[in-house]
Amino acid sequence: MENRLRVLRAERSWSQQDLAERLEVSRQSVNAIETGRYDPSLPLAFRIAELFGLTIEDVFESPSRRSSKAI
């Protein structure tokens, strides 16, 4: 799933480790989510969005909206 995690993190000058500590997950989790290799659960997606003061839709791009855009 496409997301803006890298951009949001860069805006705050946070490393992946910084973000991982704030989310209480491992750095490899942050890396996997950021690169789209892993889609977080809904509770973790909420934690990520709330950490940045945004909604989930502001952080993660809906796959269905993405595919409808392609059409």
């Binding site: 997950v25 491992s26 490899q28 989790s29 996997a32 290799r37 892993y38 973790l44």
Partner: protein
């Protein structure tokens, strides 16, 4: 797999269970070699080395319950699925080969050995497909 407390607890459990396995196995080998056991006690002694191995399966299950990092937990689940698929496939193939007298007899506990080998294979597959820093 990770430096979480759950992973550290898992490692400690596996170390203690491995130690227990070595003690039970060496004890059983010695006792049977010198014909010290008979009857029900012999059965108990023969089963004892299996218990720490079963304990390791339990430790993996416990780790999956205790690990709070969902991504890391998913990696271990994938590893165990690969291990199960490899071990069950190997056992099924060998079973048929044996039934048709095309392969010799192998002690059933080797399925567990293949399962742990499969756990390593699963770690490698995680590494190759997800780039996960998992032991392989």
């Amino acid at each position: 797999m990770s430096g979480s407390m759950a992973w550290k607890r898992y490692n400690m459990r596996v170390i203690w269970l491995s130690l227990l396995y070595a003690i039970f196995l060496l004890g059983a080998i010695y006792a049977f070699k010198h014909q010290l056991l008979s009857g029900l006690v012999a059965y108990v002694a023969a089963i004892l080395p299996a218990l720490p191995i079963i304990g390791i399966f339990g430790a993996i299950g416990r780790y999956l319950v205790e690990e709070e990092d969902e991504y890391v937990r998913m990696l271990m689940v994938r590893q165990t699925l690969w291990a199960s698929a490899i071990a069950l496939s190997a056992a099924t193939i060998w079973g048929f080969l044996q039934s048709f007298n095309l392969a010799g007899h192998i002690d059933a506990y080797y399925i567990a050995v293949v399962w742990f080998f499969g756990l390593g294979v699963g770690g490698c597959i995680n590494k190759l497909t997800l780039g996960a820093p998992v032991g392989c």
